[in-house]
Amino acid sequence: MLGTIFLLALRSIRRHMLRSLLTMLGIVIGVGAVVSMVTLGKATTAAVTQQIAALGTNILQVRPGQGFGRGGGGPSPRDFDPSDIVAIRQQVGGVMAVAPQASSSGTAIYEGANWSTTINGTTSDYFKIQPWPLQEGRLFNEDEESAGKSVCIIGSTVSTNLFRNADPIGKRFRIGDVSCDVIGLLTTKGQAGFGGDQDDIVIMPIKTVQRRFLGSTSIRTILVGVDDDYSSEQVQQTLTRLLRERRHVTEGKDDDFNIFDTKQISDTLTQTTTMLTQIVAAVAAISLVVGGIGIMNIMLVSVTERTREIGIRLAIGAVANEVLLQFLVEAVVLSCLGGVIGLLLAQVVVGIATPLMDLPWIFDPAVNLGAFAVSAAIGVIFGYFPAQRAASLNPIDALRHE
């Protein structure tokens, strides 16, 4: 019997093509909006997570001062010194590696080409904490680090601007007042999540930078790599206690340094994008409900308009349930068809939007299936009332209906 009902419903939809299309439109837009919004939201989350991961996970970044500034008023908090690095290495558990950082900037010159860039002084540990493979060449050796030799590892942007297409390894260029040998070339990392070209960099041993550019042994930033087996919160606590002690911060006073946990930032950002996605999806879901009401509306009009047809069906022997099912199936077929078209529409929207928004392309089966299931459910829920009404018509009145 169900096969017959389906046939009847499909014939009826085909007979009223334009009306059927208009009925579906609400669901098409609703499903399309929900799926494309949620998918784009997920793509954004994925992109953010990816960019955070590029910063390195499980890294604590320690700087003097509170927040991102140096804090207002009072004497500015002092920088760290090499003894702090040793202390952290020795006294904080769960630390995989500690890399001091001192930065400067300068203009690099090579055979008439010049390029203004950032200089980052650090140690080989930096590469343990923040994996950044070399395209060719090698890292600093211990001798170069302890002696503060003029060797450098350069980013791909610097290499391109200074050496064009030539192999930079072994070349000597000038940066500021220093002549420097290129020992390594880094792989291209691309744009950073928060602007800026990560490949526009020259990395030297920290001692070289301190001595030749800064003229002091102060350290602006310490990167602490947390062992995977330890929680970053725990390490952060121990680290805070140690630094407060070493920097003589009395009880009850605020830290005069800050620790920036990339994992925390990543969690926060993921939470934020997820929440935004949910809000947008909720708005889109409202349009889906409106689409359902549209179906009910048109089905009700359709029942009134087709009263005589219902009368004919009843007269020639359709039982009430058959009429009910026919109208219900019509509603469900319309809403499911609308759902499928909406899903296709969403794929088109996502396909166009992701390259424009520089997001990864994503297909989430759960979201698509879920939206389809909802559209089917809407057909049942909003189709039932009109179908019930059609089935309860009196055949004589229905036949007399003009």
């Binding site: 046939l7 009843l314 007269a315 022997g317 009430a320």
Partner: protein, 250 residues
């Protein structure tokens, strides 16, 4: 009044049928106690002025409506005790309907219209097509199977409607002013077709009409007046067929 042959058990038997619309002071008694027997193979025309109860009568006979009181036996079974769906199944199995306004599904081919009762009966697709085509062939419209009602003349539409009514081989065909919307030539064609159907296939035909010419095709003409049967006449149809009309009691 009795028929020309001995009594057989009637296919339809009405006893004291009344129908009241509304309640209280506004109540209208459309039927005031009708007794009527109809034998298989009869051709009965129902006539009467509007408001005489003939349409109400037809609705009850067609199991589309139920009486307020009285007995309605169909093949000896009490129809008045059947529920809505049981009456629908009875219509599906035993009755065929032809209406004044044709009542075909718009934008639907003649074939699909004729197929409709078979669909509800649950026939497989092959049989459906074959039987629907056979019915269309009977009414002389086999070549018009693919046309929608909008593309057919009134007479053709009514013939499609008849094909739809007879496709299930019903025992009783109920026709409500089947020629009401047709010119006289088409009317004659339809009436001749109906009486041929009655004569050759033995289908019992019940027809409401207000045209005496059309009523003459019937074997018996039942006149209604003020909710009661006023008188029963013999029609010309009584002389042409081999079948017989049954007597009326009461």
């Amino acid at each position: 009044m009795t028929g020309t042959e001995p009594e057989r058990s009637p296919i339809i038997s009405l006893r004291g049928i009344t129908k009241v619309f509304g309640t209280g002071a506004t109540a209208f008694r459309a039927l005031k106690g009708v007794d009527l027997d109809i034998a298989a193979g009869d051709f009965v025309a129902v006539m009467g002025p509007s408001g005489s109860g003939k349409s109400t009568m037809m609705n009850i006979l067609g199991c589309l409506d139920v009486s307020t009181s009285g007995e309605f036996l169909f093949h000896g079974h009490h129809v008045e005790s059947l529920d809505r769906d049981q009456r629908a199944l009875l219509r599906r199995r035993y009755l065929g309907f032809v209406f004044q306004g044709f009542n075909l599904l718009a934008r639907t081919s003649a074939l699909e219209n004729v197929e409709l009762p078979l669909l509800y009966r649950g026939d497989p697709k092959q049989d459906r097509r074959k039987e629907a085509m056979a019915a269309l062939d009977k009414v002389g419209l086999a070549d018009w199977a693919g046309h929608t009602p909008g593309e057919l003349s009134g007479g053709q539409q009514q013939r499609v409607a008849i094909a739809r009514a007879i496709v299930t081989n019903p025992e009783v065909l109920l026709a409500d002013e089947p020629t009401g919307n047709l010119d006289s030539q088409r009317s004659v064609e339809i009436m001749e077709f109906l009486s041929a159907l009655n004569r050759d296939s033995g289908i019992t035909v019940l027809m409401v009409t207000h045209e005496p010419d059309m009523a003459e095709y019937a074997r018996r003409i039942v006149h209604f007046k003020d909710g009661l049967i006023d008188r029963i006449e013999q029609g010309n149809g009584a002389h042409t067929g081999a079948h017989t009309g049954a007597g009326v009691t009461g």
